[in-house]
């Protein structure tokens, strides 16, 4: 009997204490850290996948903490997780003080929901002039700027020089030459182009370049901003060109089921001769020590060829990558602004030379000792006549999803170019 009582007592006690612990944790509240201000900062360059970026961020943050006496509390997430997390934090009104965002259409819900602080006052003291023209504008909504761009990327076709040499191929300047290169590679049983269209934006970049070359730099943009139409002849023809390339087996087989990473690894393992990607991958072709030197030496790049005699080879697809935002609800807004400004300036100086990233701020390429490919790309940027922002970034999130699904169908030959244009037009008109 005594034993039973003891068991009852013990288990009741343990249960009660369990409940008590649960309650006390719940009401604990936030810890303060003795007066000094703390900024919460969230970024999306984890050590594993973006080692150089990660290192430089840590350096900048450490320097800032030392100079200003403000401490920075960092949280790092990978790209897709970051996107989910930022949405959830935003919905629950607990965004970090400073974080990263994408430009254009991505910004809309955040700006409309008054989540991001306008940053124009911060740009007044000369900071505005530091940015490459066109980058800051991508973060503007109704005349106010909501983000400080960190990166600038343009899209090129990279090719394997040693494969090209083996078959005496020249860098193509026109679409006809491009087709010949592809045909020769096919005859020699080499995969011409690595493409991972499982991710869909990869295919969209090919489409955008055809649209640019056939219809000029404005056609696609005006179709998206509704001053034009997606059923424009040039945009239909661009879609037809995509299918022509697919029917000609220009891309590796099964591209619609491959992720971009897989396509990239095919190119890097010399299983495909060409690969289209933005300049964010430059480090892999130049400075990244993990990639064999021999391969890095064999990579060259060219701009998208002209098509049927039309098109401007100096017109690029690309745009700013991520930028910094400051939360409207931040308790430490002034400190956050101080940090964001410091970060952008420092990033501009260190990104190219240390990480091989093209920053959105202007760089004096002569003063730095850079790999040749960077210098070439920076020069291209200086001479660029146009930079068309990625279609899916220009569109609102819902329309972008529709566009990307349609891209996959187009590449999969499931719809005709006319149906592709019509469906895009309808999605945009429904906005």
């Amino acid at each position: 009997m005594n034993k039973k009582k003891a068991i009852t007592l013990m288990s009741t006690c343990s249960l009660v204490s369990l409940l008590a612990v649960g309650c006390s944790n719940g009401s604990g509240g936030e810890a303060s850290n003795g007066g000094a201000e703390t900024i919460e900062f969230m970024h999306l360059w984890p050590q594993g996948s973006s080692a150089e970026h990660h290192r430089i961020v840590n350096e900048i943050v450490a320097d800032f903490e030392e100079e200003s006496g403000i401490s920075v509390d960092m949280q790092v997430l990978s790209n897709e997780q970051y996107k989910d997390q930022i949405t959830i934090l935003s919905a629950s009104n607990s965004l970090p003080d400073v974080g990263m965002t994408w430009a254009a259409g991505y910004l809309d819900p955040f700006v409309e929901g008054n989540k991001f602080a306008p940053l124009d006052d911060l740009l007044e003291d000369g900071l505005r002039e530091e940015f490459v023209a066109g980058t800051l504008e991508a973060y503007e909504k109704e005349g106010e700027t909501y983000g400080l761009p960190l990166e600038l990327n343009t899209v090129y076709i990279y090719y394997n020089k040693s494969i090209f040499d083996d078959y005496q191929l020249e860098v193509p300047e026109t679409y006809e030459e491009f087709e010949q290169v592809i045909n020769t590679l096919k005859e020699e049983n080499v995969n011409p182009i690595a493409l991972g269209n499982g991710d869909r934006w990869t295919g969209s970049m090919w489409y955008m370049y055809f649209a640019d070359r056939i219809g000029g730099s404005e056609t696609l943009t005006s179709a998206i901003d509704r001053s034009g139409s997606f059923e424009d002849e040039a945009l239909v023809e661009a879609a037809a060109k995509i299918q022509e390339m697919v029917e000609n087996d220009s891309f590796v087989s099964g591209f619609n089921g491959l992720a971009d990473e897989e396509a990239k690894s095919m190119f890097m393992n010399e299983q495909a001769a060409m690969y289209m990607i933005a300049t964010w991958d430059l480090p892999n072709f130049t400075t990244n020590e993990d990639i064999p030197q021999e391969f890095r030496d064999s990579v060259g790049y060219f701009t998208f060829p002209t098509v049927d005699g039309s098109g401007d080879a100096k017109s690029y697809v690309g745009g700013p990558g991520v930028g910094l935002f400051i939360s409207e609800d931040s308790d430490v807004k002034e400190e956050s602004k101080q940090f964001a400004t410091y970060f952008v300036e420092q990033w501009g100086e260190r990104a190219v030379s240390e990480a091989g990233v093209l920053p959105a701020t202007t760089v004096d390429s002569d003063a730095l000792d850079l790999p040749d490919m960077y210098v070439d790309v920076l020069n291209d940027l200086n001479e660029a006549t146009n930079l068309t922002l990625y279609a899916d970034v220009q569109m609102s999130a819902a329309t972008a999803q529709t566009h990307l699904d349609l891209i996959q169908s187009l590449f999969g030959l499931e719809i005709t170019p006319e149906e592709f244009a019509e469906a895009n037009e309808n999605a945009l008109a429904d906005e």
Binding site: L19, P109, G198, G254, N256, G257, S409
Partner: protein, 292 residues
């Protein structure tokens, strides 16, 4: 101890923590999801009440029904694959050599996370340098299937890793149930001259019928809300060919920033799962289970 267990206060006290957790973590979010379904909400800004519009749209949404169809196909496939698991368990539970080794081999996929399994199978399915097509190349197949890129077969390509992933789980359950059958019953049957097949079909299966019913419910419910492997392997593509209800819900909420509609789809998923579970339980609930 018996006295304690018959005291109503103690019963309440012991059940309370689990009930509290369930309420906070499951029931309240469920109701909230249903509530968000009534809203036009991008997940970030302000919500506005739009009544049943989202739910009406779900019913009329061809993409939703297409993904629901895929989910049902997966449920059917999972239920059928239970037969395979059952057959394997019957063999393992009879005293064959190396049964222990096999049991562990089948369990291994269960120890891997879904993402790891997805990555593994992505490599296997790679159309140009994956294991599968390389082997097909050896035996002279000229144009091997594009497993994850061909809309007509992508769903079946994903079924195989799912079959593989859950094999260990169900085999373990069946194995344990079969091992629980008293040896004396089998001995008696043997003495009466029953063949091994007769023993399996007439004695072992009826005796573990309760367990089989539970696994059918588990397989059907699990399939209807299945998400992770498909999301990692294809993201629902190409062009929706492998979209299931849960991945469609995710895409709407986090891809298109349409939380209101995504919530409505999520709630529809819940309702469908409840209905199907009820039907499955009714279908499998015949007379009392055999006791031993």
């Amino acid at each position: 101890m018996n006295k304690v267990m018959s005291n109503k206060w103690f019963i309440t006290l012991y059940l309370l923590p689990a009930l509290l957790l369930l309420t906070v973590l499951i029931f309240i979010p469920l109701l909230l999801t249903g509530y968000y379904g009534l809203m036009s909400w991008d997940g970030i800004g302000a919500m506005s009440f739009i009544g049943l519009d989202n739910y009406i749209n779900v019913v009329q949404d061809a993409t939703f029904w297409q993904s629901a169809g895929h989910s049902f196909l997966l449920a059917l496939f999972s239920t059928l694959s239970l037969l395979l698991y059952l057959a394997v368990s019957l063999i393992l539970a009879s005293k064959i050599k190396g049964a222990n080794v096999f049991r562990k081999v089948y369990l291994i996929p269960m120890l891997l996370s879904s993402v790891a399994i997805a990555q593994l199978w992505i490599k296997i399915y790679n159309p140009s340098n994956g294991m599968l097509n390389t082997m097909l190349g050896w035996i002279g197949v000229e144009n091997p299937p594009l497993w994850l890129a061909d809309p007509s077969i992508v769903l079946y390509s994903i079924f195989i890793p799912i079959l593989w992933q859950y094999a260990g789980f169900y085999i373990l359950i069946y194995y344990a149930a079969l091992k629980g059958i008293p040896e004396t019953i089998i001995e008696a049957a043997k003495i009466d001259g029953a063949s091994p097949l007769q023993i399996a079909l007439r004695i072992k299966l009826p005796l573990i019928m309760g367990v089989i019913k539970v696994t059918i419910v588990l397989a059907v419910v699990g399939s209807l809300k299945y998400f992770d492997l498909i999301f990692v392997m294809t993201g629902g593509g190409p062009n929706g060919a492998s979209e299931v209800m849960a991945s469609y819900m995710y895409k709407l909420a986090f891809g298109s920033y349409n939380f209101g509609y995504g919530s409505a789809v999520g709630f529809a998923l819940l309702v469908i799962t409840l209905i199907v579970t009820y039907i499955v339980r009714r279908l499998t609930a015949n007379k009392e289970d055999i006791q031993y």
